[in-house]
């Protein structure tokens, strides 16, 4: 289904209520529609035409709301943006969650932060701003809200209780977090149990909410780039890249060839390192001590490779709109490739050893299963989606930075259990080294950065980050200042589905399920 088909079908089904436009540069079909047909149109795009849901972008203009539902399909289908507007005083929109479950958390977030209401949503409130600690009717993302002004916060209410679903005799809620276990991020789990088995679990996030979308407003592009790199720094390069791509798309900037190749090189180096880290966490959660040490060493070695090549172990301070802030010597890139190749050999050996360790397999097989139908409903991304058979990789579906010129595979599995996710991580690490090799080979001498003249406008930047697709919407105002920055991260998308895997399981499997999902709280909480 391409743009012409989309336009024809939409105009035929909803004449008068829709207006279809086209942006060739970003292969986006933009559909402006009325509130009356919004839900039906989105349902059709998502369910009938098989698009994935990328995110909901709410913008408050001087006099009107603009809600943008972004969808992406396979390569020739491109992007579809459904845009609906209403005067600021009319802040009720129809909810689409009945047909697009993936939009659930987006609507909850928008309701919490903007005060926009979604008619028909079953469960709004207490999401980003915890009900027990925030005053009623605080809407931090509204235009009038001053991000620098000190807020008067309540102390958390000791009598506040979460909602309980399981009502069997003897059922109780086991609270875990926000501080739990050894070195973990802050997140709260409510595990509803009647004894040994957990029947239902729910996750309470946003303890680490730093409001970067609000902080970005009114800042210069360079200042927001710092935020983009630093809100989830284990995948800093991917997020910085998505932001830069959005800015470059707004400004119509062309990149030098060397910058494109180096961006691919660094993005894949980051993926390799992050996957090694995820594999280490999985080994740690199954208490396999030697495997944990082996994987930990590989992660540290990849951090050192990154540090030696770029100066920074997490690839900070490399990106700039228009290319890269500094050039990397080709010889050093070749050396980093040789080092990664050596590390990959040992990663392969680790996989082979794990695949014949029965005690390890017993703990990870058939654990935390996510079915393909659920993965599709939740529009999951990254290795989690691909382990359930939902094969959609932004590098392939909507290529950027010249990924279409590289030869690699998108690994996938069908089972959707913990072991399938582990195998996908190993397989993707192999593909990353393949891409690194090709990127090193195509490095030609030349400039790495061109000056970008910032123009007012808005665009979406997308990147297949190590944990999955990330979507950064940037609106630039006058003078190159950022007017709106919306970040949809793979962890925000995948945390939504985590409760599916953590349902009806033995209590001791919980750390394993959590580690195979490779979720970042920082990425979710922004």
């Amino acid at each position: 289904m391409n743009h012409a088909d989309l336009k024809e079908q939409i105009e035929r089904r909803w004449p008068g209520d829709t207006q279809v436009g086209r942006d060739i540069l970003s292969s986006t079909t933009e559909v402006t529609c009325t509130r009356a047909v919004l839900a039906d149109l989105c349902r059709c795009i998502f369910q009938d035409w098989g698009f994935s849901f990328a995110g909901l972008i709410v913008e408050e203009g001087p006099s009107a709301w603009q809600l943008r539902y972004a969808f992406y399909g396979e390569r020739d289908a491109g992007w579809v943006h459904v845009v609906v507007s209403a005067p600021v005083a009319e802040n009720v929109f129809p909810s689409v969650v009945e047909w697009i479950h993936a939009a659930d958390w987006h609507e909850r977030e928008a309701e919490d932060l903007f005060g926009v209401h979604f008619a028909g949503h079953p469960h709004l409130g207490d999401f980003v701003l915890h009900d027990d600690a925030w005053q009623e009717n605080v809407q931090p993302m509204r235009r009038g809200f001053d991000a620098q002004a000190a807020m008067r916060h309540r102390l958390p209410d000791a009598d506040w209780r979460p909602r309980r679903i399981v009502q069997e005799p003897g059922a109780f809620v086991m609270p875990v977090g926000p501080k739990f276990s050894g070195v973990t991020e802050s997140v709260h789990f409510l595990l509803e149990t009647v004894g040994e088995d957990v029947i239902r679990s729910s996750t309470r996030l946003f303890y680490k909410w730093r409001a970067i979308e609000k902080l970005a407003e009114g800042k210069t592009v360079d200042e927001v780039l710092l935020l983009a790199e630093r809100f989830a720094a284990t995948t800093a390069f991917a997020h910085g890249l998505a932001f830069c791509q959005a800015v470059e798309r707004v400004s119509g900037a062309e990149l030098p060839a060397r910058a494109r190749a180096l961006r691919v090189f660094l993005a894949e180096l980051e993926r390799l390192r992050q996957h090694a880290g995820a594999i280490q966490e999985i080994c740690e959660s199954t208490a396999l001590v030697v495997a944990n040490s082996q994987a930990g060493m590989l992660e540290e070695e990849l951090l050192r490779v990154s540090g030696e090549l770029t100066g920074h172990r997490y690839l900070f301070g490399l990106l700039a709109p228009g290319g890269l802030l500094c050039d990397l010597p080709t010889d050093a890139c070749r050396k980093a490739f040789t080092q990664s190749q050596d590390i990959l050999k040992r990663l392969n050996e680790l996989e082979r050893r794990l695949s014949i360790s029965s005690s390890f397999l017993d703990r990870i097989e058939d654990v935390g299963v996510v079915r393909l139908s659920a993965a599709t409903d939740y529009s999951l991304v990254g290795p989690v989606a691909r382990a359930s058979g939902l094969v959609r990789d932004l590098r392939r579906a909507q290529p950027y930075s010249g990924y279409e010129t590289f030869d690699y595979q998108v690994p996938s599995e069908q089972e959707g259990d913990g072991y399938a996710r582990l195998r996908v991580l190993f397989a993707e690490a192999r593909q990353s080294v393949r891409i690194i090799e090709q990127a090193t080979a195509v490095l030609k001498e030349g400039e790495v950065c061109r000056t970008v003249k910032f123009r007012p406008g808005a665009a979406l930047g997308w990147v297949e980050a190590p944990r999955g697709g990330t979507f950064h919407w940037v609106r630039l105002g006058e003078g190159g200042r950022v007017a709106r920055y919306r970040v949809v991260t793979p962890s925000f998308i995948n945390w939504h589905s985590f409760h599916l895997a953590a349902e009806k399981f033995a209590f001791q499997d919980f750390p394993i399920i959590l580690s195979t999902f490779d979720l970042s709280v920082a990425e979710n909480d922004r």
Binding site: L155, K179, R210, R230, L288, S293, M297, G307, R313, F316
Partner: protein, 249 residues
């Protein structure tokens, strides 16, 4: 299962020579800007620093490493770069006059550390995690990670302390037995980093708890965090940090 035992033995010892000797492997630290005299380039460099970590005094540049977020704007894309030093002994102690370090003697070879994420981006926490891998192996030095404040001697905090973590952080600190020390790790924990100061974040841990040891860096590499822990128990001399500056003008 014998394959793992054999593999483990065959791997040999990988652990760093630090703290007895120096670690010289490439890529173990991003380094820190050192400042110094850069002549006429000074005003331009100070202007480029987005977190106001640089200050110019009579032509020379001084660096408040608490504010440095490793954006490299003072060394990349400029004519005359600022001095960077690839060191890693970054743990600075905040001297409290007249207060003896009670952790220093009886406990110094068995210290339980409670690691709390108060809004961290994941990098500092990942570097703390690396302390457990064979390259650093903090256990050999008598440092153990504990999940409970009741067993903890040292509270290691990463992140700028978001509003929704402030209460939990205070409670954990109160639940720790005395003597106890607080180690703040990373630029965000020391100054709020790129998130300060806003309606959800303050200027770091010191707004909430008394901090004993500061480890700058964004993120500080594992060796710097290790140095900070050794400083906290009086086994290493602290790096002299400049006095905390007030809000930049």
């Amino acid at each position: 299962m014998s394959q793992w035992v054999i593999k483990g033995i065959r791997t040999g010892i990988k652990t760093t020579a630090y703290p007895r000797g120096a670690e010289r492997a490439a890529g173990v630290t991003p380094g820190l800007p050192r400042g110094g005299d850069v002549g006429a380039a000074a005003p331009a460099l100070v202007e480029r620093c987005l977190t106001h970590a640089l200050e110019q005094t009579n032509g020379a540049i001084s660096v408040d490493s608490r504010r440095c977020v490793h954006c490299y704007r003072c060394v990349r894309g400029v004519g005359q770069p600022l001095n960077w030093e690839a060191t890693y002994e970054w743990g600075g102690a905040i001297a409290t006059p007249g207060l003896k370090n009670e952790l220093a003697q009886p406990f110094r070879h068995s210290i339980h550390v409670l690691v709390v994420d108060a809004g961290d981006c994941g990098a500092c926490l990942n570097e703390v995690k690396q302390l457990n891998n064979p390259y650093y192996n903090m256990h050999r030095l008598g440092f153990f990670i504990t999940p409970t404040p009741r067993h903890a001697d040292v509270l290691l905090v990463v992140g700028p302390v978001t509003d929704q973590m402030r209460f939990a952080l205070k409670k954990m600190h109160e639940a720790m037995p005395t003597p106890k020390r607080v180690v703040a790790v990373g630029a965000c924990a020391l100054s709020g980093g790129v998130f300060a100061k806003s309606f959800v974040c303050g200027n770091g841990v010191a707004d909430v708890l008394p901090v004993d040891v500061e480890v700058p860096g964004h993120p500080p590499p594992p060796l710097a965090i290790l140095h900070g822990l050794l400083v906290a128990v009086g086994r290493k001399r602290p790096l002299p940090l400049p006095a905390a500056r007030d809000e930049p003008v």
